[in-house]
């Protein structure tokens, strides 16, 4: 099972791959973020009901979508870590969790800033907002748990298990607006029917979503690279890497 995964699970290979992908991902993320933000925040028309306030969706929606996207990828990594005992997957959990937590904070913060003028309140304890807040706590729990053990292996596995248990929260977040009579509006673009947003607003939003996704991927690559180096610091390939990079810098200086 999962034999095709084996070569990528090797830390050395994964390190090289992350190094290879990172510059491309980061460049693409930067360009699309620039386009999405400028287009969305400055050049789209105002909404017929909400006026200019609605523009915050260009930050709020991508952050919220990818806070869940990050959690799902973290949970997949957790499953791989627990079932197939792949070490690289354990490190991936630690790499993704803080990024996901930051995305969740962004989504909550922008949501509150939007809610005040629109609904008349910063915060209501309804299903969507509460479940998103629990997502943040789950991220924090995963981070705290992985650092709480004297034995780092146990910490990594325990946090993987917590990440898996927390998956029940994801469908609750997604369907909360349909299941309960909440203040939060229903899904706009992730529903199966035609998106209920005008094309002139949809395109910059889609670009922003793409940008946040690329950003997440790029940061994950970067953090995973660091985690691999940290965990494998005594292995021969890391020593070789360090000595060769030292040599090349000496040559450059000479």
């Amino acid at each position: 099972m999962f034999k095709w995964l084996d070569p990528y699970a090797k830390p050395e290979t994964l390190y090289r791959l992350c190094g290879l992908w990172f510059p491309w991902l980061m460049t693409a993320a930067f360009i699309s973020l620039l386009i999405g933000m400028v287009w969305g925040l400055a050049f789209t028309p105002a909404d017929y009901q909400q006026g200019d306030s609605y523009r915050i969706i260009h930050i709020h929606v991508p952050a919220a979508i990818w806070s869940m996207g990050a959690y799902s990828s973290m949970a997949i990594a957790a499953l791989i870590a627990l079932v197939w005992q792949v070490k690289a997957a354990q490190w991936a959990i630690g790499a993704i969790a803080p990024i996901g937590a930051v995305f969740t904070v962004i989504a909550l913060f922008t949501g509150a800033a939007w809610g005040k003028p629109m609904w008349g309140t910063w915060w209501v304890w309804d299903a969507r907002l509460t479940s998103e807040l629990i997502l943040l706590f789950l991220y924090l729990g995963v981070i705290a748990l992985s650092g709480a053990f004297a034995d780092r292996q146990t910490g990594a596995k325990a946090s993987a298990l917590l990440a898996l248990v927390g998956v029940v929260n994801l469908p609750i977040i997604h369907f909360s607006v349909e299941w309960w009579n909440t203040l939060h509006q229903g899904a706009t673009i992730t529903k199966f029917a035609k998106p209920s947003i005008d094309a002139s607003m949809l395109w910059p939003l889609l670009i922003s979503i793409l940008a946040f996704g690329l950003w997440l991927a790029a940061l994950t690559c970067l953090r995973l690279k660091t985690a691999i180096l940290q965990n494998e610091q005594h292995r021969p390939w890391v020593r070789q890497l360090v000595s060769s990079s030292l040599k090349s810098s000496v040559i450059k200086e000479g």
Binding site: L82, W125, T130, S131, L133, I134, F137, L138, L140, G141, A144, L145, A148, F149, A150, D151, T154, G155, K157, A158, L161, L162, L164, V165, V168, I172
Partner: protein, 221 residues
Amino acid sequence: MVMFKAAFVREWRLLARQKADWLNPLMFFLIVLTLFPLGIGAKPNLLAEIAPGIIWIAALLSVLLGAERLFKDDFRQGVLEQLVAADEPMLFYVLAKIISSWCSTALPLLLISPLIALLLGLDATAWLAVLLTLLLGTPLLNLLAALGAALTLSADKGGILLALLILPLYIPLLIFASAAVDNASLGLDYSGQLAVLSAMLCLALALVPLAVLKALKLNVG
């Protein structure tokens, strides 16, 4: 099944010899409840209004208080590693633990709930709602507390971490339980909230014991 009986009997013997383990959380619950009226002043209306919240918060804190000890002794004494190494049906051991912890921490709360209702000036309908939500909700408290205890078993600062991990997961429970009691005191129907509570309980009953099992094995290994 043999395992279940053995673990259950063992757990009850331990509870009988370590009365502080379950009496202290109960005392804590009662004291917290009596502190609230003192702290906010005994205005009957206000008290009845916030009573559901008080009862629920006191209940979940007292369950949390007794949670850490759940697997700690068996872990320290090496019982767990012997069970894991021999590959005994640990699921029954876990179930026996959770059930007896519910009996020792939550059941007494249910039994003294009429007294609490009297203390906080709740009427009969609200008391019934409190009783029903406690009946459906406290097993969930115990299940999640067991999960937290198992996850943080070999952690350095297990106790406080346990609270940090589990309290957020209690939020939905708290919301629906207090909404149910709220609706009851407003004379509205609250079967919807009760259904949500039972759905959460069924889900937790199905998944949490397995997660606890896995967490115990992780901490032993």
